[in-house]
């Protein structure tokens, strides 16, 4: 059952007060009883000692009548149940009153009187003094110690005085009843006051709770009115201020939301316009690039074709000097065509318009084809092209053409900067399951440490006079990096100037195919960690 705050407060308060009252009453009753018991003990001992003093003569003389008178005198005292005089040999000399069966000797000082006996018995010895001169006195000694007992005082009997405990018990009962009554009255008052107090506390809380419910239901104009000036009223005032602030905030929020929607709508419209303009510009650029490509490649192919034909003697015998000229024209045209191809490829990659053609293929033959191509190109045979493919590699399922272009570009690059020595292609399984690592190592001139961070930037040629020596516009490695990105991999490079370079490409073996109707993969540049 759920108990309200008021009930809990009343219960806790009442329990605490009842406990305190009970504890206080118990303590007072015990203290009172102990005090009374002490007084009773003092009185009993005082009476017993008085009787013992008075009985000395009567015990010595065997005056039972005087002892009886003493007992009667004691009996006149309140609470005295009996008085017995016994001589030192245990003979009862005088007795008045009966010793109840349930009696107890006086306990230790401060102890509570017993509750299960009818009388408290005080046993006081009766002494007499031997006033005869001691041997020393008889011999005329000057100093005789008479202060200590030292045989001058000896017991001649005992007086037993019994005090009734009934009055003490009656007093104890009265005190207990009074304490219990007091506790009950205080407890009832505590319960009533706790209920009133709890009501005084919970009533405004309930008002606040109802107001909070209305505010939660959207009635932000709700205000709480309490007819008090206490802490709860301060809470109500704060509550009202909060509600007002909440209403103002919601109005401001509504206004802000409305304004924001208008701004979003306007910006969306602008973005759509710009997007349309960008699409148009992109389309125009593609058309321009296609046109340029066509318009540039066609004459260059023609030039190269005819140059090849002239060099082969289709137009008549050519001299050696003429042949060299034709070879030069063909070579420059080829370079120009490669340059155009690079620019177009980079343009296509940069625009994200890349089509993925995923197919299954073995990596070894692909790389062997590249190696063989470069071996065939090499004239002097001063560079060894080596292919090292680890056994057990899985088949690749990715864009074969793009991966081939990556490796070809890297090998081209290595061959370009390696005059003699070795260009190696090493393939092994990657550290991650389902990945392969393709490393292209050369013993060329290497790359300086300060150039290494920039070698994958577009149009960046590193090394002094490189362009003049090797040709190109600095797009090869930029294209490689973007292709690796498209393949979902990453590329790193290590190089020591004068000793060679190593480009390491890590790509997943399997690139997921796109569902039908899904747009071609358009990886965002820089999406793959490097």
């Amino acid at each position: 059952m759920r108990r309200g705050f008021g009930v809990r407060l009343a219960l806790a308060n009442s329990a605490l007060i009842v406990l305190a009252c009970a504890l206080l009453s118990w303590t007072l009753v015990r203290s009172d009883l102990r005090e009374i018991g002490r007084g009773l003990a003092d009185r009993g001992f005082a009476l017993g000692e008085h009787l013992a003093r008075e009985a000395e003569l009567s015990i010595l003389s065997g005056d039972a009548e005087s002892l009886h008178q003493l007992a009667q005198m004691a009996r006149a005292e309140r609470d005295v149940l009996y008085t017995h005089f016994v001589d030192v040999e245990g003979r009862v000399q005088a007795t008045l009153g009966e010793r109840p069966a349930h009696r107890a000797h006086v306990p230790a000082v401060g102890a509570l009187p017993p509750t299960d006996v009818d009388a408290w018995e005080f046993e006081v010895p009766i002494f007499t003094t031997d006033a005869r001169p001691q041997r020393e006195e008889l011999l005329g000694a000057d100093v005789v110690d008479r202060s200590g007992p030292s045989g001058r005082r000896h017991q001649i009997g005992t007086v037993l005085v019994g005090l009734a405990l009934d009055p003490l018990r009656a007093h104890s009962d009265r005190v207990a009843v009074t304490a219990a009554t007091f506790t009950v009255i205080v407890a009832v008052m505590a319960v009533l006051s706790a209920i009133l107090l709890a009501s005084a506390i919970t009533r405004p809380l309930k008002v606040l709770a109802r107001a909070a419910d209305r505010i939660a239901g959207g009635e932000l104009e709700t205000q709480v009115t309490l007819q008090s000036e206490d802490e709860v009223a301060a809470v109500a005032e704060s509550f009202n201020a909060m509600a007002r602030s909440l209403a103002l905030s919601r109005a401001a929020l509504e206004e802000h939301r409305r304004t924001l929607e208008e701004k979003v709508r306007a910006r969306t419209e602008r973005l759509e316009t710009v997007n349309r303009e960008l699409d148009e510009a992109n389309r125009l650029k593609s058309e321009f690039l296609a046109t340029v490509s066509h318009e540039l490649r066609t004459p260059l192919n023609v030039i190269m074709g005819y140059t090849r034909m002239l060099a082969e003697g289709a137009g008549g015998e050519v001299t050696g000097e003429q042949r060299e000229m034709l070879e030069s024209i063909h070579r420059q045209s080829k370079m120009q065509l490669d340059l155009i191809s690079d620019v177009l490829d980079f343009s296509r990659l940069a625009s994200g318009r890349v089509s993925m053609h995923i197919e299954r293929f073995a990596l070894g033959p692909l790389l062997e084809e590249i190696r063989a191509l470069h071996v065939g190109r090499q004239a002097g045979g001063q560079v060894a092209f080596v292919l090292d493919v680890a056994a057990g590699l899985p088949e690749m399922e990715t864009d074969r053409v793009k991966l081939q272009e990556v490796v070809r570009n890297l090998v081209d690059n290595a061959a370009k900067f390696t005059q003699r020595g070795r260009v190696g292609i090493e393939v092994r399984a990657g550290n991650l399951p389902g990945w392969v690592v393709i490393a292209v190592r050369d013993t060329g001139r290497g790359i300086s440490a300060e150039d290494l961070p920039r070698i994958f930037e577009e149009f960046r040629q590193v090394g002094e006079g490189t362009t003049r020596t090797t040709g190109g516009v600095g797009l090869g490695l930029a294209i490689v990096r973007r292709l690796v990105d498209v393949l979902g991999g990453r590329i790193t490079v290590e190089s020591v100037l004068g000793e060679g370079s190593t480009f390491v490409v890590e790509v997943p073996c399997r690139l997921p195919r796109k569902a039908p109707g899904e747009p071609a993969a358009t990886p965002v540049l820089g999406a793959v960690p490097r």
Partner: protein
């Protein structure tokens, strides 16, 4: 108990006595005897009743008026006034207080017979100039007393006594003279007031073997009696008391009179005087019966062996 209005009470008693005693004799108008008691303590009451009974049974059956001083000397004037008014033929006093009070009235000549009085001669009761005085004293002869001391404590040589010179000096001097005949020497300590009695006893006990008592109101009072007996017991000192009450309280022994017999003896003297004898011709008598009281418990405490003959002789024994 002390009364705030003594006279009406005394008067009422007197009138009651008159009504009770005089009615049968109203026709003959016999002699009138007034009995004045010092108080109504046991011995006085016993003696007083014995006197009255004997007079009632005597042939002359005198009218008996009874007055009680209740132990208060201050009641004397009222009683004397009433006696003057009643004018009895004879006054009987019971106790020293009543005797002294009546004898102090020198305006009357009514003969006086005292009873229950100790040492009447030493108290100068017998030398009254206006009245004829006789009576029965309580004095046990000193010789007898000292004999019993010797029998009770045969080894005792020094006998001590406390006394007030003005009250019992003559008695003590008489005892001093007699003591050697019993092989005793009397050692005395004078006491000026009761408050000094216990201290004086302590000093006395340093020098004696047994303590003897004389009826001296400066020594024995209700306040000092128990203290004196207790001091003697603590000292293991035999103390010869004055009464059986003393013996019950711890005194070793006492010689006491038969108070009823003393009363009857007094009544007989009154009858003789009423029959015509002159009071001044009737000698003062002593007690006819003397009894021994013994406290064997005290004797045991003292380590004293009391002779079996004495025990057999004793009329009252505390065992």
């Amino acid at each position: 108990m002390r009364s705030d209005r003594p006279f009406p009470r005394v008067l009422a008693l007197g009138l009651l006595a008159v009504l009770v005693s005089a009615a049968p004799l109203a026709a003959s108008r016999g002699p009138t005897v007034a009995i004045v008691t010092s108080s109504r303590v046991g011995p006085f009451e016993t003696a007083s009743r014995a006197i009255a009974d004997l007079l009632q049974q005597s042939p002359r059956q005198p009218e008996v008026l009874t007055f009680d001083l209740e132990g208060e000397r201050s009641k004397g004037p009222d009683v004397l006034a009433e006696l003057r008014r009643m004018n009895p033929d004879l006054i009987v006093t019971v106790g020293s207080l009543a005797t002294a009070m009546i004898l102090a009235d020198s305006t009357q000549r009514t003969p006086l017979v005292f009873s229950m009085v100790l040492y009447p001669r030493q108290s100068e009761f017998l030398s009254n100039p206006t009245r004829a005085v006789t009576g029965v004293a309580l004095d046990v002869p000193l010789e007898i007393q000292l004999q019993y001391v010797h029998r009770l404590v045969p080894g005792a040589r020094r006998l001590g006594v406390l006394y007030h010179a003005g009250e019992t000096g003559l008695i003590v001097e008489a005892a001093r003279r007699i003591a050697p005949s019993q092989g005793l020497s009397l050692v005395t300590r004078a006491v000026e007031q009761p408050g000094n009695a216990v201290t004086a006893l302590g000093e006395l006990m340093e020098e004696v073997d047994v303590v003897w008592s004389v009826a001296d109101s400066h020594v024995f009072t209700p306040q000092t009696t128990s203290a004196l007996i207790l001091a003697a017991l603590r000292r293991r000192m035999p103390l010869i008391g004055l009464s059986t009450a003393h013996v019950k309280s711890g005194a070793l022994a006492t010689l006491y009179c038969d108070y009823e017999d003393v009363g009857r003896q007094t009544g007989e003297l009154v009858v003789r005087i009423l029959d015509g004898a002159r009071a001044e011709d009737v000698p003062v008598a002593g007690p006819r019966k003397v009894s021994l009281g013994l406290n064997l418990r005290t004797a045991q405490h003292l380590g004293l062996d009391v002779a079996p003959a004495l025990v057999a002789e004793a009329r009252e024994v505390v065992r």
